[in-house]
Symmetry: C2
Subunit: 149 residues, 2 copies
């Protein structure tokens, strides 16, 4: 019943935020999140975050092209999901811009991550923070988040 | 003459932003920037960024205490200077909040740093980005920035 509701309505548009120049060590997690979001009925606008060829593709763009693309996609998004385990200046910037837009923001991290106090101590009611210990838990959190949008 | 002008007027209040949980490898640079700012006639409100005992002191605070302290200091600041060489979610967040406040933002980095496109491609006119190759150049950039406030 719940699933039917998701497929019938328009897909919520998600900005997936993860470290790019801060380090791609969690690329496989971003790929998993992308697939879980699409499977849950969402449309990931910033699919490039999960693209293994991202650096090569972006090397053909100017810095402002990249900024404009990302801010343009964020402006069209219904929610932002950030993986905050790997410290990233861009992710912090995007979280702030999403809170400015008053859209729901979900920050996910591994249990042993040292997460910024600008995230963990952030009192915005539209921000939620969850730790995940494995892909199954991560998938469950993502499904619940998408269904609640 | 220029120096006299600086000492006569009220000290500009600066939010110094640098990586904390993202890694303290540039602590000595943050300490140098703090000293250069104070020497240039500015008052650094977020002096804790340059404090070697920061982690120990902050371990006694709640996450929201840290967030509230930092956002409170940012709200009182006339400008933000961020060292963006070390990727940091908190620094990205603080840059965005400072741009929201329309105060001057100066991002500084080592020449070989891989800096976020959310900084390098950012079109806000109140944002300036400069690379520095050594402490002498860094000091010079800081003095010019403080004098222009």
């Amino acid at each position: 019943m719940e699933k039917k509701k998701v497929t019938e309505r328009q897909s919520p548009k998600i900005f997936l935020s993860g470290s790019i120049r801060g380090g791609r060590q969690l690329l496989e997690t971003y790929r998993f999140m992308y697939a879980a979001l699409e499977e849950a009925g969402a449309e990931v606008l910033s699919w490039h975050v999960a693209d293994p060829d991202l650096e090569e593709n972006e090397s053909k763009m100017t810095e402002q092209d990249i900024y404009d693309r990302d801010m343009g996609l964020l402006a069209k998004s219904d929610a932002l999901i950030a993986e905050v385990t790997v410290p990233s200046t861009g992710v912090g910037y995007e979280i702030c811009r999403a809170l400015d837009r008053k859209i729901p923001v979900l920050c996910l991290h591994r249990p042993d991550a040292v997460v910024s106090a600008m995230v963990l101590g952030n009192p915005y009611p539209s921000l939620d923070i969850r730790a995940y210990s494995n892909e199954s838990v991560l998938n469950e959190i993502i499904i619940k988040f998408v269904r609640a949008l």
